[in-house]
């Protein structure tokens, strides 16, 4: 059933809140009172509740079933995290309170940093980036600042594999670099020959995802790091796939100079329909001095025997320390609400549980790969890491596209996998089950995927092209949306309906 827009239900007199009556005293607005109607509708509380509950039921969600979006790590979101984040001591604290009143909040940041550093084997972390792409920006800015500090003004070329997330090239450009793409080899990994050919003294660094977006571990990672370092560049590692190796491999041991960590991927803060994220970025010794403001300053040796912390907000507070922050990335000091959730998740798992996360994530992906490679087409030979990559060769001649196949999964009660990414594979289908799926659940998924593949091969093309039919809506006209953008409700648009 269609749910009307709030603008079609509520009026400007309706409201779902009660306030004491204003006293009507004189304003001090300097003559800037807003007098014209705004046009914002309100709804009573029961109507509001129904509107959003009904809308929510038009969404798929992890809590409803498998959400095998490759590269997105759609794992279970524990409600303990939500409970902890809502403790008044965390949720109801202002970022600019005096330091003496927020020592516990600083402690969360300190403990979180400790866990992240131990897990990555890195010496420093910047907590303030607000999402993965913001973390990339942080890391690449640190590289840029380092290069500038060293007078390396000629290094502006950044190597980025073809298979990289789109954020990588966009970020490099945002930091004033140019992007030079490296092709993948036949095995789905960096083409080492091509890489070597691109080295030179104008190379600022490389941006690499490992495990890469084909779900494969870059076997030559240490050689790559050495090559980049050898020619004077830095190694930015995209941390999106850290879930595959947490507790198993430390990026610091691979020669990484900077890596963001998606707290909403590896550490289970909820995706929330598109955010908020948090992208703390670990930095090597070489880059650490350039970490952005503000910086948590910790005095661990003081008479009271406990750490005393404060936030250095300005470069002027860093006198005498060899620190050269590249700037401030955003107001205040990071996604505290995500820090408490991620730390809760980490403490719940412990070092043993986090290793098990990587193990089970990789086990599950390989189990799917083993179960489906006979009927779908595996993109690259061998075992995978935490995600299994297929291409569309198995659909050849069926008239069924990757998109059709994905939409047919919806009719079977599943969210589709990631499609058409990475770009290096034709009609890519990237399946990431995560460690929080049960064997029984994977067995059912494999069975359904197998039957879909067989149906496609058996010529049930129309079924695929019509899919989804068991969803709140059928396929949506995305072209029309882009050609004639309607980005908001207007009374006129409404009348035209």
């Amino acid at each position: 059933q269609a749910e009307p827009l709030i603008f079609e239900r509520g009026g400007v007199e309706n409201t779902g809140v009660d306030f004491p009556a204003p006293k009507g005293s004189k304003t001090r607005l300097g003559g800037l009172e807003r007098t014209a109607p705004i046009g914002l509708p309100g709804l009573s509380e029961p109507e509001t509740m129904r509107h959003y509950v009904r809308l929510s039921r038009k969404n798929y969600a992890i809590d409803l079933g498998l959400y095998p979006l490759g590269s997105c790590t759609m794992k279970h979101n524990p409600r303990l995290n939500e409970k902890v984040a809502r403790m008044p001591g965390f949720a109801d604290v202002h970022p600019l309170q005096p330091a003496s009143t927020v020592q516990g909040a600083y402690e969360v940041m300190d403990v979180l940093a400790h866990w992240l550093l131990k897990l990555t084997g890195m010496p420093a972390v910047a907590l303030s980036p607000k999402a993965g792409a913001h973390g990339e920006f942080c890391g690449m800015m640190a590289i840029r600042a380092r290069l500038d500090a060293d007078g390396e003004t000629g290094r502006r070329r950044v190597l980025v594999p073809e298979s990289a997330h789109g954020t990588n090239p966009a970020t490099a450009v945002q930091c004033g670099f140019t992007v030079d793409e490296i092709p993948a080899d036949a095995g789905g990994r960096v083409d080492m020959a091509a890489l070597k050919a691109k080295l030179g003294d104008d190379v600022a660094g490389i941006m690499l995802t490992n495990p890469n977006t084909c779900g494969l571990f870059e076997r030559d990672i240490r050689e790559i790091a050495d090559l980049i370092h050898g020619c004077g560049g830095y190694f930015y590692c995209d941390g999106a796939n850290f879930n595959a190796i947490v507790g198993r491999v430390r990026p610091g041991d691979l020669g990484v100079d900077a890596m963001h960590i998606n707290l909403h991927k590896t550490f289970s803060t909820p995706h929330g329909g598109g955010g908020p994220g948090a992208g703390p970025t670990v930095l090597s010794e070489a880059l650490a001095p350039f970490a952005p403001l503000p910086l948590l300053m910790i005095d661990r040796d003081n008479p009271k025997g406990m750490a005393i912390m404060h936030m250095a907000e300005h470069e002027s507070e860093l006198d005498g320390k060899d620190l050269h922050p590249f700037g401030r990335m955003a107001a205040f000091h990071g996604q505290m609400g995500m820090f408490t959730r991620a730390l809760t998740y980490m403490m719940s798992h412990g070092s043993d549980g986090l290793k098990q996360v990587a193990d089970d994530a990789v086990l599950n992906a390989n189990y799917i790969l083993a179960g489906l490679k006979g009927v779908m087409t595996q993109a690259f030979e061998g075992h995978c890491m935490h995600e299994a990559l297929f291409d569309d060769r198995f659909l050849k001649g069926t008239g069924v596209t990757t998109l059709d196949f994905a939409k047919a999964m919806i009719d079977e009660g599943y969210h589709p996998m990631t499609m058409y990414f990475p770009l290096v594979v034709h009609g890519a289908m990237l399946i990431e089950p995560t460690e929080t799926e049960s064997k029984g659940g994977l067995d059912r998924f494999i069975e359904v995927m197998e039957s879909l593949a067989l149906a496609a091969k058996a010529g049930e093309t129309a079924r695929f092209q019509a899919a989804p039919v068991h969803a709140p809506l059928k396929r949506l006209d995305e072209t029309r949306a882009a050609r004639q953008p309607v980005l908001r409700w207007t009374p006129a648009a409404d009348a035209a309906e």
């Binding site: 809140v17 969404n59 897990l119 792409a133 954020t167 598109g274 089970d360 949506l476």
Partner: protein, 447 residues
């Protein structure tokens, strides 16, 4: 571990199906030397009870805003959030959904984004808005970059009274671009210096109202001049509630309005996550130069109305190095909280809320201004204002904290080495008369 469904017999059966003897065999691509032999040196797993206790111990070391008389603002504001909001954003279908790339099974998220965009456009007096940014400061930075793209000019002028964090975030984003940002001297006053800084090479002028000192600004004059010189006006706000009582930026001629939406539906959270609002006029190629996600209306195969993410050719996942921004994640759940709270308020509720904030702040200003040696500097304000104190504000704030009053933000915390006698004070609907009496008494005591 409670989040991991397998028991050992499952793992054994799965390894057999895969055809390997052990999990280690799946990690052989990792260089031998980099494979960790044992566990990382961190504590082992713990049950819920233990974790909750440990986190609670840290939480209890903070003074929460609700437990004391609280008057801190300067970019983040304490307002009452209806219980309905927090309940709804925790619905599994909202909390545990991803970015709505599959519109057929994401209409819940998409329709709320469409409603959010419309609300933000109405609030700001703009034509369109995007589906949210990380926060107000990054929205501001992106707006500057967008203005440069739109005008094909590379000089931005920012008022010194824009929240200093916003200025710094903008400078960071612009740092290695072609865009140069000039900032005027901050002061509690008007926009004359800013107006004077606009010339024919200016891409945009950035002005905040209410500004960091709480002062309100009429943007009509500056808009007229900026437009005459071909520059865009970016209006910044950090307190969305002000838009219920104060003239909207769009109605005063601004081209782009950016701000912090935290006041509506999102708690203080010690600084994040918040929700950046980004709205603009629908002129020239504005829409195609906007950063961030956009939900748009369309129809499905049966002609039924529905919503999709649209104009994604602006975005990094399609356009890669030519994208308008590298942004991927938005503030999804926070924008949901915003739109739910705003729906509960409606125009009537928002206007009352805003008026209560203003009246409370006026009352507080009168109380504090009556103290010997204390001066209220603002000629106008919404719910925050600036006091000149007879001693350093940072000391005063610390002394107040010691006696259990969170009395505001010393201006010197935002402007190091400057304004040491200025204190930024905020009042909202959550402040009771008794809070104000306690504050006044405490301030008299420490001065």
């Amino acid at each position: 571990m409670r989040y991991l469904p397998h028991i050992d017999s499952d793992r054994k059966a799965m390894l057999e199906a895969i055809g390997v003897a052990s999990i280690d065999d799946l990690f052989t691509d990792v260089p031998e030397a980099a494979r960790l032999k044992g566990l990382v040196d961190l504590p082992l797993k713990q049950g819920e009870l233990a974790v909750e206790r440990a986190m609670s111990a840290m939480a209890s070391k903070n003074i929460s805003a609700g437990s004391v008389p609280f008057f801190v603002g300067a970019g983040a504001y304490r307002h009452h959030i209806p219980a309905t909001v927090d309940h709804l954003i925790q619905r599994s279908e909202f909390l545990t959904a991803y970015t709505p790339y599959q519109p057929e099974i994401s209409q819940g998220t998409l329709q709320t984004l469409f409603e959010f965009q419309t609300q933000v456009a109405l609030l700001t007096g703009m034509d369109v808005a995007n589906a949210s940014m990380y926060d107000g400061s990054t929205a501001c930075a992106e707006a500057v970059m967008m203005a440069a793209r739109v005008t094909k000019r590379d000089k931005a002028v920012m008022a010194g009274t824009v929240h200093p964090h916003y200025v710094e975030a903008s400078k960071t984003l612009a740092k290695y671009s072609d865009v140069e940002i000039a900032v005027t001297q901050p002061s509690v006053g008007g926009l004359d210096e800013l107006i004077a800084a606009i010339d024919e090479t200016t891409a945009c002028v950035v002005v905040q109202t209410p500004d960091i000192f709480g002062q309100l600004h009429d943007l009509r004059a500056i808009s007229e001049i900026a437009h005459a010189k071909g520059a865009l006006v970016i209006a910044v706000f950090t307190e969305t509630v002000s838009l219920g009582l104060v003239e909207a930026p769009g109605d005063m001629g601004a081209d782009i309005a950016v701000g912090e939406g935290q006041s509506i539906g999102v708690g203080l959270n010690f600084g994040g996550p918040y929700v950046g609002l980004f709205a603009c006029k629908n002129e020239r190629n504005f829409i195609r130069q906007m950063p961030g996600r956009l939900a748009g209306e369309t129809v499905d195969a049966d002609g039924r109305r529905g919503y999709v993410l649209t104009l994604s050719t602006r975005e990094q996942h399609i356009r890669r190095e030519k994208a308008t921004s590298n942004i991927c994640t938005n503030a999804g759940l926070c924008s949901l909280a915003f739109t739910i709270h705003m729906t509960l308020l409606g125009e009537a509720g928002l206007r009352t809320l805003a008026r209560l904030n203003h009246e409370t702040a006026c009352e507080l200003a009168d109380r504090l201004g009556s103290i010997e040696g204390v001066e209220v500097l603002n000629s106008s304000f919404f719910n925050e204002f600036t006091l000149r104190l007879p001693k350093p504000a940072a000391e005063v704030v610390d002394e107040l904290a010691r006696i259990g009053v969170l009395g505001g933000v010393p201006a010197s915390r935002l402007y190091p080495g400057q304004f040491e006698d200025l204190l930024l004070v905020t009042a909202t609907e959550t402040n009771t008369e008794s809070d104000m009496i306690v504050f006044e008494k405490a301030l008299r005591g420490v001065l």
